[in-house]
Amino acid sequence: MKRRPEPVSWAGKVKPCRAGVAAGIDAAENYIEPGFEHIANGAPARRFEFSLLHLRRSYPYVLSKILTVTDNWSLDARALVRPARTFQALAATQRPENVRSTFWTAARRPLFLSLVLGCVISLIGTSVATIRLIGTTAIYWSFVPLIEILTLAIVVWRRRGSSTFASLVDAFFVGHAAWTLLLLLAGAVMAVTPPQHWWFIITRPAVVAIVLVVGWSAYVDVCFFRYICGTTLASAVRSATLYRVIVWILIFWIFAVPEATPLGVIQEIVEAITEVLK
């Protein structure tokens, strides 16, 4: 099929193609013979059509250029914005001969999370990050990463394949950036916000932020179970759901429920939702 020739003549308006070939300018095209004005008037339409075609063809190229910016980011940041690709790449590197699993491998990211929790609690309580609070709260709020690790063990133990549990824990917490960023943002906002705005922040913007993070982190978790644990999509969704149900109930029970009964948990959830909705 013969393609119609590319319009190249309107001076300076044609961009070079991807191969870098500059467009030629035909000066003769600028001369319009009397009686042929309708042909010249059609040029803008062809120019617009060419621009659209160029843009549509180059959109994936432009997007890929934008996303390659993340190639230089840390592993955790890449997992935040491109979890599927990051976990695929991470799974490919987690061959048994490549994995050196030590206690530090499993502990480094959970320890960082404990430190973040300590800093955030200090910020929301005193508006500054002070060592007298960070030092102690980071210790007893380590129950959060500990519960996450124990639940991960329950959910993936039989499906961990050739990976060591330490490397699985490390890979799982690679996808924790969304929650970590939310905690840091909450601490920073509450540290500088006057008290009269706290309840509004807790019941409006914070709820929206939590919903967004819950949604995105669910996708990140599914990517983890699918690519790191090597399961199907349906199995990954089930694992992520089971993981979240166990972790959230346990953390909520320890944080908020005075009675160690299912009814106590339900009562606290109902009271909390009622307070937020008032």
């Binding site: 800093c119 609690i121 500054v128 944080f255 005075p258």
Partner: protein
């Protein structure tokens, strides 16, 4: 900037922030004063601690925070339990810290009641009259907490006469005229003592000033 340099920069910034925060975190001295023949103590009768009551600081950290803020007395009032108050009271005796009174926030669908100075837990959901009677039978005082939605209680209800105190000064009432008006309206319905409390859950400063005297007489004064 490679990963190692980036990590070092982030760690240095974090350490610098923590160091700066620690330097500016200066304790507030306790200001003992005498007014009309009474020692004026800074008290907070509604303080929660971690775990189980939506708070972030442990009982020990709560006592230390109260001392850091210059409070003389706190009542530790977790929901449906008193062990945190007992732990706080034990700890404060060892560090010569603020007076810690064991208490509980008794919750029910229609009210929250602070029982200060009790030794046995009172169950969730008991009728208000029974809760007040249980608190007073143990030698404690009954303070209605955040009484914003107590319209269901009639003006001549015996519970209003039995109450020892009500939270009339709260953090949100300082910044919301509507909240302050609703608390004042509730105060006008009874003859109980007006109490100021922070309802501390780890967010914001602990402590509200209140008049009082020696530890043994604090509850009597209320």
């Amino acid at each position: 900037m490679n990963g190692l340099v980036r990590a070092i920069v982030v760690a240095a910034l974090a350490l610098a922030s923590i160091a700066a925060g620690t330097v500016v975190d200066v304790p507030t001295p306790s200001k003992a004063s005498v007014l009309g023949g009474y020692y004026v103590l800074a008290c907070d009768f509604h303080v929660h601690s971690f775990p189980s009551t939506w708070s972030t600081l442990s009982p020990i950290d709560t006592v230390l925070e109260a001392r850091h803020r210059g409070l003389d007395v706190i009542a530790m009032t977790p929901h449906e339990s008193i062990w945190a108050g007992k732990l706080g009271a034990w700890f404060t005796r060892r560090i010569a810290g603020p007076i810690v009174i064991v208490g509980e926030e008794i919750t029910a669908p229609r009210y929250h009641l602070i029982g200060v100075g009790i030794s046995k837990t009172i169950q969730y959901g008991v009728p208000l009259a029974d809760a007040i009677a249980s608190v007073q039978a143990q030698g404690g005082v009954a303070i209605i907490a955040h009484p914003y939605e107590m319209d269901w209680l009639a003006d001549d209800a015996p519970e209003l006469r039995a109450l020892d105190g009500a939270e009339i000064a709260r953090p949100e009432a300082l910044v919301s005229d509507e909240a302050a008006a609703r608390l004042r309206a509730f105060f006008a319905r009874g003859s109980f003592t007006a109490i100021g409390s922070s309802d501390f859950h780890g967010l914001g400063p602990i402590g509200f000033p209140a008049r009082g005297s020696s530890p043994a007489n604090l509850l009597h004064k209320v």
